[in-house]
């Protein structure tokens, strides 16, 4: 049994919140640069240049890449042989978000009582936390500040088994078409297929943890990722939906077994400001 202090978790989360919001991940930067080289629309080229320039300014000035510093979504992989001491895990995470956002000059975007009063909680808490128990004695923490523009364009449907691959493709393309410029393309398109109603959306979000350019290990799924990416980039929507070839940088699909009656599909979009930062304790 290995001990992990709650205070270390808090410090780590605070740091990850800030780093995620200032530094665009390398794989995303590389994908944007590649897209800039391949883009044919002059206007889209300019948009990609601005996005790259913005990431430099954010890095140099330690200013948020985007004013929407998001709902703080935290993914934990907790080793079954780790023991958290000196405090409550959820409170440690929450305090980390509180400190990270305040100290990092990040925006507080969370409101309580969503359907009525919508009063800002004032410290961007609470985070949304997903925990998986895994072998080992480590704690892997990933912070994903998820912006509203792209999150609001999420879609889920339970298709009929007979709708098959074509149904999954049509549902995804429809989601992208109807979203237009709202989710801030170029996008990373996260897709879950299978499981149950709530699990398919979790899979869609979890797929966004994958690096841009990394495919699902299952060749059939990887092929669908490729096919969908080329179809999405044929829509002409382009960066900011002002026209162009670069509507998405990647399509990431995660699958799970499902019930004989169902074909659940979830789409969770990530904007080009695909903020993500991981640490292992």
């Amino acid at each position: 049994m290995r001990e992990i202090r709650a205070s270390a978790i808090t410090e780590t989360v605070a740091r990850l919140c800030q780093e995620a919001n200032y530094y665009l991940p390398e794989d995303v930067l590389e994908a944007l640069k590649r897209a800039r080289q391949e883009e044919e629309s002059p206007r889209a080229q300019q948009v990609l240049d601005v996005i790259l320039q913005n990431s430099q300014i954010a890095r140099e000035k330690q200013i948020a890449l985007c004013q929407d510093t998001g709902t703080t979504v935290i993914f934990l992989e907790l080793g079954q042989d780790a023991h958290i001491v000196g405090g409550d895990l959820l409170e440690a995470l929450t305090e980390g978000v509180r400190r990270g956002y305040k100290g990092g000059f990040l925006r507080n975007s969370m409101v309580r009582q969503p359907f009525s009063r919508r009063v800002n909680t004032g410290d961007n808490t609470p985070p949304v936390v997903h925990t998986e128990i895994v072998p080992g004695d480590r704690l892997k923490i990933t912070v994903m500040p998820k912006g509203g523009g792209c999150e609001n364009m999420s879609r889920m449907a339970i298709l009929r088994p007979g709708d098959g691959k074509q149904g999954v493709m049509d549902f995804t393309l429809r989601t992208i078409e109807e979203s237009g410029g709202n989710p801030c393309p170029p996008l990373i398109v996260g897709i879950g297929i299978g499981g149950s109603a709530e699990y398919v959306m979790y899979l869609a979000k979890k797929s966004l943890l994958r690096k841009v350019g990394e495919h699902n290990p299952d060749p059939e799924v990887a092929e669908l990722e490729e096919e969908l990416l080329s179809r999405i980039n044929a829509t002409g929507i382009g960066p900011q939906a002002w026209g162009g070839r670069t509507t998405a940088l990647a399509v990431n699909i995660e699958t799970f077994a499902t019930h004989i009656t169902a074909l659940p599909v979830g789409v969770n979009l990530q904007c080009h400001s695909a903020r993500l930062k991981t640490a292992v304790l």
């Binding site: 300014i57 000035k61 200013i63 985007c66 298709l159 709708d163 074509q166 237009g180």
Partner: protein, 200 residues
């Protein structure tokens, strides 16, 4: 395509008439921030017979909720938020005299038609470029609804704030034009219309 034409805000009738969808424009002058909560509060006030907290006639509204500034900074990261969420208030805002709005994404049909009627424009700023746009904002001052925090109404003085005309006063729409120009194939091959759908 006009490139990087500088336009003074508030916009004159002549300036509005000279803008076409796709024009790249640098805005210099005064603009006001307002997003979801401020829109709701302005309209609820007007419904009770109150005056809006600022004179909206001729003004430009920027849909933004900035991050807090570091000490010595004018404003934090300050890029556009998604405009369609303001659509349900925009007809009223146009009636109150607003002549231009700045956001990201597209506008609904009703709003696009109302912009033609009211001779108003919608500018797109690049979503996710808040760190860069921050540098074009030279002064920022909360002028109403301070309790709304990031959603308060701020008066901004901007110098060469980069935008593109998405909707002009003639009914042109950059999003439609862009997609028509760059689309490579029909998007759907399957039974698209029969699929379940949970939003719009």
């Amino acid at each position: 395509m006009n490139r990087n034409k500088t336009v003074i805000t508030p916009l004159s009738e002549e300036a509005l008439a000279g803008l076409r969808a796709g024009d790249q424009v640098l805005l210099t002058g005064v603009i006001y921030t307002a997003r979801d909560a401020a829109h709701r509060r302005i309209i609820e006030g007007v419904d009770r017979g109150e005056k809006p907290p600022i004179d909206l006639r001729g003004q430009t509204l920027y849909y933004v909720g900035p991050t807090p500034p570091r000490p010595g900074q004018v404003i934090g990261s300050a890029g556009p938020t998604t405009a369609y969420r303001m659509d349900s208030f925009t007809l009223r805002m146009l009636s109150l005299g607003v002549k231009a709005t700045i956001g990201k994404g597209g506008r609904g049909k009703e709003v696009r038609e109302a912009m033609v009627k009211h001779r108003a424009v919608y500018f797109g700023a690049i979503g996710g470029s808040g760190a860069l746009l921050s540098g074009t904002i030279k002064r920022a001052e909360v002028v109403a609804y301070e309790d709304l925090g990031t959603e308060a109404i701020r008066r901004l003085e901007v110098v060469e704030f980069p935008v593109i005309v998405v909707n002009d006063i003639y009914g042109n729409d950059l999003l439609e034009q862009g997609k028509a120009e760059w689309r490579r194939d029909a998007p759907f091959k399957g039974a698209y219309s029969e699929l379940p759908h949970n939003g719009g």
